[in-house]
């Protein structure tokens, strides 16, 4: 992985042998190709659910909820593994990372996936990815204790793989920067060191992701173990509200971290397409420092309708949910727009996707922070508004970061004609994604509940629009995937 001409002068790079770089590239490609294939399958699953709700496809309720479980856990997990591919690729240029451990996490992930697939399709587990206690243990005969246990165990195994990877990232960051504060730019923020505008944004983002996700996954492990114990020893009854808190903390941190990990693609690549450097600054460090806390403290916005939650937690969650939109809207998205404005940027699939990701993330924040207001949540909680906001910033924010990075690896920076598959794929994906998110939001505004296998007659037209939108998204990703499968494996390391 070669260094960029823009900032080699000032920021340290790790030296790897040519063979090490090749091996790393292969590993990153494996993460991305897996990402594309599983995302495509999960989108088919999503489209099938919308088709079932619009009565266009008969899906029996039990199977629907199995698909729902698979879709939720599959997308979150795949977002985790693919975003790790993006972050790891760039981070290893600044700190010495182990390719072996990167593969180890990948292997552990696949093992966990196999167990989870078994629990869902063989064991018929359909307790939702949220596995809210005590539902996994009380299915009224739909699935066995063993199936529920396999699901929880699969998640636990996947989490363990990530923890090992984060330990390696932590070791590597500490070896280069001494402590996490320096890596986050805090010594510069608080004036203990002069501001270095070439301090890599990737290191800041990587350190933040490492810290919050380590804590998030550790909490996840605790709650998974508690529930496993409960499954086999029903005498042990954890408090349902406590368990819910732990699960949402874990889930919220994990999915958010995927965005904060993938955004390094924007920091690293937009400068290459615009010819303008992305410099770090005190504002940048402050924004990322704030995000460390906000990402961990906002999750109670999922529990506003759990009335016994303490009032201070709810107020904090509303205030910080709003606050956590600010770094996106003021620093990252704004900075990206400044890079592009009158830059003479080279437009290709990669740069288009990266800009789309900034739009999707920033725009998706709007319905998210609105729903994170207690007074609004009263009528939007657990309606389709909720999938609406996260499909907005996952489909149009997160995935375009991962996809944009993939197309950068695939096409390099070279100019020339964009293949038709990429163009068609992009517009099909863009229109489909936007329509899909807006259909969900509109459905939520019309009070349609989420996670309903069968829709009332009044709701069917929304589900039909949703099916159309999902079909366009599937088509776009199918075209992307074909292009990725045919061109990515043999694509050389892009020269900068």
């Amino acid at each position: 992985m070669s260094a960029t001409t823009l900032d080699t002068a000032v920021s340290k790079r790790v030296d790897y042998s040519e063979a090490e770089n090749q091996a790393a590239l292969v590993a990153v490609k494996a993460h991305l190709i897996t990402g594309f294939l599983v995302f495509l399958l999960m989108m088919l699953a999503g489209a099938a659910m919308r088709a079932a709700q619009s009565n266009m496809m008969p899906v029996e309720a039990g199977l629907f909820y199995q698909i729902l479980t698979l879709h939720g856990v599959g997308v979150v997990g795949t977002a985790g593994i693919a975003s790790t591919g993006v972050l790891w690729y760039f981070l290893r240029q600044y700190v010495p990372l182990s390719t072996k451990i990167f593969w180890l996490n990948f292997g552990v992930f696949l093992a966990g996936v196999v167990i989870i697939l078994g629990s869902i399709f063989i064991g018929k587990y359909g307790g939702g990815w949220t596995f809210l206690y005590p539902l996994p243990g009380i299915s009224l005969g739909a699935w066995s204790t063993g199936a529920a246990a396999a699901f929880l165990l699969g998640l636990l195994i996947i989490g363990t793989g990530f923890l090992i990877l984060y330990l390696d990232m932590g070791r590597a960051i500490l070896s280069q920067y001494g402590n996490f504060g320096r890596a986050l730019g805090l010594t510069q923020l608080f004036g203990k060191e002069p501001v270095n505008p070439y301090h890599p944004a990737t290191v800041v983002a990587g350190t933040m992701v490492l810290i919050v996700n380590f804590i998030g996954i550790a909490v996840g492990a605790v709650v998974l173990v508690m529930m496993l114990v409960n499954l086999y020893n029903p005498e042990f009854k954890p408090d349902a509200l406590l368990v819910k808190n732990l699960i949402y903390f874990f889930g919220h941190v994990f999915i958010n971290a995927t965005i904060y990990a993938s955004v390094v693609a924007v920091y690293e690549l937009l400068p290459r397409y615009t010819g303008r450097p992305y410099k770090t600054s005190k504002v940048f460090y402050a924004a990322w420092f704030a995000i460390v806390f906000m990402v961990m403290a906002v999750y109670p916005h999922h529990l506003f309708m759990d009335a016994p939650m303490p009032m201070w937690a709810m107020i904090t969650a509303q205030v910080l949910s709003y606050g956590s939109g600010i770094p996106v809207l003021v620093v990252t998205g704004y900075g990206a727009l400044m890079l592009v404005y009158r830059s003479g940027i080279q437009w290709n699939t990669a740069s288009k996707l990266l800009i789309l990701s900034m739009f999707g993330w920033a725009a998706g924040v709007i319905p998210a922070i609105i729903d994170a207001m207690v007074s609004v949540n009263r009528v939007l909680h657990n309606t389709l508004w909720v999938p609406g906001h996260f499909h907005f910033y996952l489909l149009l924010g997160l995935l375009p970061m991962i996809f944009g990075f993939t197309f950068y690896l695939l096409n390099g920076k070279k100019e020339g004609k964009t293949p038709l598959t990429e163009k068609l794929g992009f517009y099909s994906y863009l229109i489909g994604g936007l329509l899909l998110a807006l259909t969900f939001l509109g459905s939520g505004a019309h009070s349609i509940p989420r996670r309903w296998a069968v829709h009332m007659e009044e709701w069917v037209p929304y589900a039909q629009w949703g099916t159309l939108a999902a079909t366009l998204v599937v088509l776009g990703v199918l075209l992307f995937t074909i292009r990725v499968l045919t061109a990515l494996p043999k694509a050389p390391e892009p020269s900068v």
Partner: protein, 176 residues
């Protein structure tokens, strides 16, 4: 409420799309970055203060008074119509299925087995109030019905295979 937030969201997304469109359509005529930076960093400052002040105003306006009822208070006696609600896989039980308009109804909601979501829908299938139904807890929800009619209780928390079939009816009669 739902219509308002839907409208605000659409306007917000459209404005943001317009900003992106403006930048993208101005991306191909190169200008020196330092002049772009100078101008737009200054604007970012103002933008930040705008978002901050806007946030403070909205926060205060929406949190005072706090929009959820106190869970410590007892809502009983003459002032409230009390309905005990329990969510089961996959049905609702309610101590009464009839209430009247104008006088606050205190729903005491719990989950008998797993988590459920107690969602009150009016005749037009519009969600008017909700609270979670959680095992081990009794959540209090206060709602004043303005309109008489046949309301429906829908389950809003995934609770297993017949989650979507968990529907009960609540009659709201005009106060005499």
């Amino acid at each position: 409420m739902q219509t308002t937030v839907w409208f605000i969201t659409l306007v917000g997304v459209a404005l943001l799309a317009a900003v992106f469109y403006y930048v993208i359509s101005n991306s191909q005529t190169p200008e020196d970055y330092s002049s772009v930076q100078q101008k737009w960093y200054r604007f970012r400052h103002k933008w930040f203060y705008f978002i901050a002040i806007f946030g403070i105003v909205v926060t205060l306006a929406t949190l005072i008074p706090f929009p959820l009822p106190s869970q410590d208070a007892a809502y009983a006696g003459e002032d409230y119509q009390v309905v005990d609600v329990s969510g089961h896989q996959w049905y609702w039980t309610m101590s009464t299925d009839t209430v009247v308009t104008g006088k606050p109804v205190a729903f005491y909601v719990t989950g008998a087995d797993v988590n459920h979501g107690f969602g009150v829908y009016d005749e037009n299938l519009k969600l008017v109030a909700q609270v979670q139904a959680m095992p081990g807890y009794t959540n209090k929800l206060i709602h004043i019905f303005d309109q008489p009619g046949k309301y429906r209780i829908l389950c809003l928390e995934y609770c297993g295979l017949a989650h979507h079939a968990m529907i009960a009816e609540l009659k709201v009669e005009a106060a005499s």
